[in-house]
């Protein structure tokens, strides 16, 4: 085709529209297309699947699927809060209230809208829907003056909405037209069990009710009148009676439509106009609409291929429909439906059922007439076997001799399906369409842990439902490749770092010798090694904080810790005094200059806002440090796995945008946590406003000032594999900020692996960010105070290690190049470059 840059317009910035943009960026489509995206909502694309978490602490930013600048960084224009009102196919342009925009290719990603059954009164104030962030804002504000709420619709989304109303402290009822809840997913037994469970939570359930009209209430704002003239009153009504495709633009511009709506697409996601594509919930493929995100993502992938076809001449995969199996937890109740769960689409199908009314569990299997294949399944009350059943279903695996064993309680020996039983084609992650083969390929290409596999394949970064399966496949495959998944720290201890930490703390063990004597792997007198010794040294330090230069601890340390300086390639050391928050007086700057000149040190400003003096000879270190200590400097722990720097921006003291004193806070934090020994190094950043000049979101702990206090971000990383920190808590005052950081750091110290930065720890943390928030913010384990106390011990016992060593002749004895000769090491040879010395 031609090489001219074409104009691509995407209408709709929801989950699927966004995924399409991601796919296009990934494939370099911006070289061929000038891309403009229109979004009717105020917010950039966000995670609608987790919309309800908006009520439990997440905000628009943390639900967002990309950073604010992501589109702009790739030259993509994002026009939010601007709806497209018409498409002019003859000219090739779209029309909004703000203007006309020509296109060469167009994609409809307009999603769907909640269906509100037509009835008198359904447009009254306080009759709301549940689809967007704005809808939730409206519900939240209506709930303030309400005490009762009703959800119309007892399907998946209706129950989710009911849960939200309950969370807003409303007396909640669900009204369902069908004779049972979730009629699409469950049968009458399952529905009955579901009703019992949900009623037990205090939510009223009314099935078989068709609302006729809504009018003024007597005891509440509204009264719903049903077909049998029964009534139900509520202050707030949420409609969740199904969704309908937002296909009005397509209809008006005469694209081919389905009988009951939806824009018809083919296997390439093309509509009846080859310049126009449609993806997501607005698209109708093979007479079906797919109301889930995974099929939408697959369409986005296909659409990206279709759009790039003319340029890279590759015909990508085509869309072949999608499995609608779902696993959910609604109001805390597990519900799972796989394939033909009702067994009414498979001629000759047979059914196994298991019902436990005490434990309130219901499981049903639908198998093919010959009993060989699973064609569907239904679970209520326990999704434990969902993953296994789904694999039988989607890979057409041979069922065990007695299929019932799959749903009988495990005491009867249900054979679980190991990851090795899965074929290469087995889908592990349906959100990102990752097969077992894809996972194996990443491992073959060198990935050696779960985090890398997630990163490369994106598996388990969507709904997260596949996390457990992915983990077991990765571990199994690593093992079969001879990679140790044994989590013992080394040959000397059959324990993980976490276990060693607990042993040390609980038994109060204070030396390496005692630990290896009592808990070492072999009974012989072993010495430990360069893996376990520094790890144990770090654990002992974070528990008891005795000086690392004490005789008992000396042999444990890496050379950097032993000499409290960083060894360089020629055997000399670097010296990095602490400069909290990067703030330094001119007088102290001059001291650094003078010391460097006296000892012939190369000086450089580091990436951590302080100054590094390189090339110090071992025997000069004590003299250098006594001069620095005299001038008021302290050790900077640049050599240690502990707090490095707290980077700050100048903040409200000087900056015209600053809203808080970021330097002051940075200094306070740096002084509080300096010396805390941790599994890996820790870096903080504090910015005075959202411009984020301190790059706090790239740090283990990031603090960003707001009008009302501080936002706390955690688990960011620069370095080898950058990771943005995640928003953890908002608008904190100083004390709460410090309390949360205390707990967070101590929890990390307790539970992380050796040399695991917070970012990697977080990615491997089961339960993810939500779990972390529960433990740290909500104190769900009740360990908050203990963590704070432990932190206080470390803070109270802090002493500058150099100050501690400098007056102790025993400790200084080590700072000699040779025990029997005063000469310096003659092999250290330097040369001059750009006015300073460097190794020759």
């Amino acid at each position: 085709m031609n090489n001219k840059v074409q104009r691509l317009i995407i209408i709709g910035n929801g989950m699927v529209g966004h995924h399409l943009v991601e796919q296009l960026i990934e494939r370099g489509a911006t070289a061929h297309y000038a891309i403009t995206v229109f979004g009717e909502e105020r917010h950039r694309a966000y995670d609608r699947v987790h919309l309800s978490e908006y009520f439990t602490g997440r905000n628009a930013d943390s639900l967002a699927l990309s950073t604010a600048d992501h589109y702009a960084e790739h030259g993509i224009v994002l026009r939010l809060h601007e709806s497209v009102t018409a498409i002019d196919r003859d000219v090739g342009k779209v029309i909004t209230e703000a203007g006309h925009y020509p296109y060469d290719r167009l994609v409809l990603a307009t999603g769907s809208y909640p269906f509100v059954p037509p009835m008198p009164g359904s447009d009254r104030d306080g009759c709301l829907v549940y689809r967007t962030l704005d809808d939730l804002d409206a519900i939240r504000s209506a709930a303030e003056s309400a005490s009762t709420g009703v959800v119309v619709g007892g399907g998946l989304l209706g129950l989710e909405a009911a849960n939200a109303l309950r969370g807003l402290n409303l007396d909640t009822a669900v009204v369902e037209f069908a004779p049972r809840l979730m009629p699409m997913q469950v049968d009458s037994e399952g529905g009955e069990l579901l009703r019992e469970k949900i009623e037990a939570l205090g939510v009223q359930v009314h099935t078989d009710r068709a609302t006729q009209r809504i009018e003024d209430g007597v005891d509440a704002a509204h009264r719903m009148v049903f077909q049998d003239d029964k009534v139900l009153e509520a202050d707030l009504i949420v409609f969740s009676a199904g969704i309908r495709p937002r296909d009005e633009l397509a209809r008006d511009s005469a694209l081919e439509m389905g009988e009951r709506g939806g824009v018809v697409i083919d296997d390439r996601c093309l509509t009846s106009d080859p310049a126009i594509l449609a993806v997501g919930e607005v698209a109708l493929w093979n007479n079906s609409i797919f109301g889930l995100v995974a099929p939408g993502y697959q369409m986005a992938k296909v659409a990206a291929d279709t759009l790039l076809g003319p340029f890279d001449h590759i015909q990508g995969e085509s869309f072949r429909g999608a499995d609608m199996s779902t696993k959910l937890k609604l109001l805390g109740v597990d519900v799972g439906a796989i394939g033909d769960a009702h067994g009414n689409q498979t001629p000759g199908a047979r059914v196994f059922r298991y019902l436990d009314q005490i434990k309130q569990q219901y499981r049903k299997l639908v198998v093919s007439g010959d009993g060989k294949r699973l064609v569907g399944a239904m679970l209520v009350g326990d999704n434990g076997v969902y993953d296994t059943l789904l694999q039988y279903y989607s890979n057409g695996l041979d069922l065990p001799e007695d299929p019932a064993s799959l749903i009988l309680p495990s005491s009867e020996g249900a054979p679980t399906l190991g990851p090795d039983a899965l074929p290469e084609t087995a889908t592990i992650c349906s959100c990102h369409n990752v097969s077992k083969g894809d996972v194996c390929a990443t491992l073959d290409a060198g990935a050696s842990d779960l985090a890398t596999v997630k990163d490369e394949t994106r598996a388990s970064t969507g709904c997260g439902g596949c996390a457990a399966l992915l983990k077991s496949v990765v571990e199994h495959e690593l093992e079969s490749r001879g990679v140790e998944v044994d989590r013992s720290i080394c040959e000397h201890f059959a324990h993980t770092r976490q276990e060693l930490y607990d042993i040390v703390r609980i038994e109060g063990i204070k030396t390496f010798g005692e630990l290896i004597g009592k808990h070492g792997a072999s009974s012989s007198r072993s010495l430990g090694c360069d893996i376990c010794k520094p790890a144990v040294a770090s654990i002992l330090a974070s528990c008891f904080n005795e000086p690392i230069t004490d005789a008992a601890h000396i042999p444990l340390q890496d050379t950097n810790d032993t000499f409290m300086a960083n060894m360089q390639k020629n055997g000399t050391y670097s010296v990095v005094p602490r400069v909290p928050g990067g703030e330094i007086t001119p007088g102290k700057l001059m001291v650094l200059g003078r010391v460097a000149e006296t000892y012939g040190l190369y000086t450089k400003v580091t990436g951590g806002q302080r100054i590094d003096l390189f090339g110090a000879r071992l025997e000069d270190l004590p003299d250098i440090w006594s001069e620095l200590l005299d001038a008021g400097f302290e050790t900077g722990h640049a050599y240690a796995k502990s707090l490095r720097t707290v980077k700050s921006c100048v903040g409200s003291t000087w900056c015209r945008y600053g809203v808080q004193d970021s330097v002051g806070m940075a200094i306070r934090l740096e002084n509080r946590y300096k010396g805390l020994r941790s599994p890996h190094k820790l870096k903080f950043g504090v910015s005075g406003c959202t411009r984020e000049c301190a790059e706090a979101q790239g740090k283990d702990i990031g603090v960003i000032a707001t009008e009302n206090g501080w936002n706390l971000y955690v688990c960011g990383n620069g370095g080898m594999r950058p990771r943005h920190a995640e928003l953890f808590a908002t608008d904190l005052d100083d004390d709460r900020l410090i309390q949360l950081i205390d707990r967070f750091l101590m929890f990390y110290v307790r539970t992380a692996d050796r040399l695991q930065r917070t970012s990697v720890w977080r990615e491997n943390l089961e339960g993810g960010l939500d779990y972390l928030k529960e433990v740290i913010v909500d104190d769900s384990l009740g360990i908050g105070q203990e963590l704070e106390r432990q932190m206080q011990t470390v803070i109270d016992t802090y002493r500058c290690e150099w100050a501690d060593a400098i007056d102790d002749p025993e400790k200084l004895k080590r700072f000699r190049s040779f025990v029997n000769d005063a000469r310096p090491d003659p092999d250290i040879i330097v040369t001059e470059e750009r006015g300073q010395l460097r190794p020759a």
Partner: protein
């Protein structure tokens, strides 16, 4: 036998330093004159172990820097080793053999106590 052992036939024992100069379960460096010129030694002290003293080259052939005495002492599969502080290669204390690279071996010297005096044969 090794060259170090061959030398024992011809070299004399000399005093090197005092027991107090050593760091238990770790290393210190020392300077000696040998027939082949001056040498830097890394001396490791494992009190209470079958062999309490070891002397190896202080020079790390991988990094080309004199740092071996500042490595971490440990054992791998029961054999005492030191890990270079620069890139962590392991050297067997008994004979200087590098575990990661067959072709690299540090020199070793016979070493022992005479009372509290550390004696080396070089």
């Amino acid at each position: 036998m090794t060259t170090a052992a061959a030398k024992t036939m011809t070299q004399a024992w000399q005093a090197l330093c005092h027991r107090d100069d050593l760091v238990p379960f770790s290393g210190v460096a020392a300077w000696i004159e040998t027939e082949e010129g001056p040498a830097q030694l890394a001396i490791f002290y494992l009190p209470g172990h079958e062999t309490e003293l070891y002397a190896l080259d202080h020079h790390d052939p991988f990094a080309n820097a004199n740092v071996i005495a500042r490595g971490i002492v440990g054992d791998l599969k029961g054999e005492p080793v030191v890990a270079s502080p620069i890139h962590k290669q392991h050297f067997r204390l008994a004979d200087g053999q590098c575990l990661e690279d067959d072709s690299i071996k540090l020199r070793t010297w016979p070493i022992g106590f005479d009372g509290d005096q550390v004696m080396i044969q070089a």
